[in-house]
């Protein structure tokens, strides 16, 4: 590992100003991804600006039913918060489906959203990888890609985003607050992560000198919500495919629906085609299947990950069907 300087940030402004003047400085959150990547030689910062002690730790109502979550709220604390458990079950479930108890205790909200892909070639500095070394090629496309993308990939990169939290935020129409040297901007969660296109080195729209300070949740949408994740073992494994869903059914008809897939693309995949197909449709398994198929018609699986398409379809159908069954899930906002 390359030797590096370390400073513990005392306030947000200084942290941003320090990183802004130094191209090889990085913000440090819980370190569970960054330190891992530094050991692997993938990240080689000259300076770490530790932002994990900045007082961005609130989970506060901010009017209009909105909730503002500070970037330093630990994954375990966010998942356990009574307001999140009661009003945004999909969010609590997504966090608890990720990583391990130890990792969730260290991982921050900001760091979770900025964790890098688990693509094996990205993590192995002896291999080419367009994301790590732009222009060097993408060996995953013809190599080991069972865990990688079936939707929205490009010839340059077929990686998936590993965050479970991000999938729930996409379904909840959350937004991300970014602070840079020139002030603050708010970006929709669905527009925060990006597709690889011809710039796979950029996972998100954040700039080098922007600090993720908070996540904002709008008032809970009507209906019920849930997260379901398929993985190679029952716990402590990344998603092969996952689904975050919000569903409101009145008189047997879908009144409102939000659906997002994880594990399928370079970003959480908001299933707008499926949502359109479901609005006003009868809340039946047949509708759910039809809608999921309509969304996944855009899938372009690689040699070894075609199984993800029916897996995602079946997960979506099961989650929506369980949400439609009013007696078994909590009402949002209750």
């Amino acid at each position: 590992m390359r030797p590096f300087g370390y400073v513990r940030a005392d306030d947000v402004e200084t942290a941003i100003a320090t990183v802004a003047t130094e191209p090889d400085a990085r913000f440090l959150g819980g370190g569970t991804n960054l330190v891992d990547l530094m050991k692997l030689g993938v990240e080689r910062p000259g300076l770490l600006v530790d932002v994990s002690r900045l007082p961005l730790t609130g989970i506060d109502p901010v009017g209009d039913g909105k909730l503002r979550i500070g970037a330093n709220v630990r994954n375990s604390d966010l998942a356990a918060h009574p307001l999140i458990r009661a009003r945004y079950p999909v969010l609590s479930q997504a966090l608890l489906a990720g990583a391990s108890g130890q990792l969730r205790n260290a991982a921050t909200t900001g760091g979770n959203l900025l964790q890098r892909t688990r693509c094996l070639y990205f993590q192995d500095v002896s291999k080419p990888c367009n994301k790590r070394a732009p222009g060097s090629g993408c060996p995953a496309r013809e190599g080991i890609h069972r865990d990688l993308a079936v939707l929205g990939h490009s010839e340059h990169c077929v990686a998936t985003n590993p965050s479970d939290l991000a999938v729930a935020l996409a379904a909840l129409d959350a937004s991300v607050v970014l602070r840079g040297p020139d002030g603050e901007r708010t970006v929709a969660a669905t527009a925060f992560h990006r597709l690889p296109a011809d710039l796979p080195e950029r996972d998100t729209v954040i700039a080098h000198d922007e600090l993720l300070t908070a996540v904002e949740l709008p008032a809970p949408p009507p209906g019920r919500s849930a997260y379901r994740k398929a993985r190679d073992r029952a716990s402590y494994a990344f998603a092969l495919a996952s689904v975050a869903a919000v569903l409101d059914v009145q008189g047997g008809t879908v009144r409102e629906v939000r659906l997002a897939f994880g594990g399928l693309a370079h970003k959480p995949w908001r299933a707008t085609v499926a949502e359109q197909a479901l609005l006003g449709a009868p809340a039946t398994e047949e509708s759910f299947r039809h809608a999921a198929d309509a969304e996944l018609a855009a899938a372009r699986p690689l040699r070894d990950n075609g199984f993800k398409v029916p897996l995602a379809r079946n997960l979506a159908v099961r989650v929506l069907a369980s949400l439609a069954d009013a007696n078994h899930m909590p009402q949002l906002g209750s």
Binding site: L48, A106, S334
Partner: protein, 189 residues
């Protein structure tokens, strides 16, 4: 401890003097910033209870408690833990008297080679505290679902499925899992 007013990167020190409070004793030490808490404990302080299995957050052998929370010490930089209270497996017993959880691991054969055991023990101490604090797990029913969901914030009963889920961050190559679950179940309230 360095602060944000220190000079540009090429002149910045790559080591710092820090204080770690380990099992009640304060230690002042100078660490290269690349040093993890795990390496500080093992290499600097001679506390070799916490084990290095994978060094990448994937096995739990390095689990210790920092300010009361279980974490993977292999992914925590020592400099970032400056000032923290750390409890390792060496700090669990009361003198010669093993911690009840250590006793239960012995009684239930909760190990074979013992390599994962310090991490299992520290992780289980964390699990007991988290459940007592009402922290849910992936298998805890949501509030309002009827099916035995604990009211938010109240202690979560540690059934064997709760223990299995909550301990999933600790791998055991010897496969002592069922006995580990039995041992924790015995100590759980």
């Amino acid at each position: 401890m360095a602060t944000t007013s220190t000079p540009p990167v090429e002149h910045r020190p790559t080591a710092s003097q820090i204080t770690l409070r380990v099992n009640g004793a304060a230690h002042r030490l100078t660490v290269d910033h690349r040093t993890t808490v795990l390496d500080a404990l093992r290499e600097h302080l001679g506390l070799i209870g916490a084990k290095k299995g994978c060094d990448h957050g994937q096995c739990g052998a390095c689990t210790v408690l920092i300010d009361g929370h279980r974490i993977n010490s292999c992914l925590t930089l020592a400099v970032a833990a400056d000032g923290a209270q750390i409890t390792t497996v060496e700090g669990l017993s009361d003198g010669e008297q093993p911690h009840p959880l250590q006793r239960a691991f012995l009684d239930h054969d909760g190990f074979q080679c013992g390599y994962c055991t310090p991490g299992q023990l520290c992780s289980a101490i964390g699990v007991l505290a988290e459940a007592a604090d009402g922290h849910p797990s992936h298998v805890t029913p949501l509030p309002g679902t009827g099916s035995g969901a604990p009211p938010p914030g109240s202690p979560v009963p540690l059934t064997s499925s709760e223990i299995r889920e909550r301990m999933s961050g600790n791998l055991c190559r010897c496969g002592a899992y069922t006995n580990i679950v039995d041992a924790i179940e015995e100590v759980a309230p």
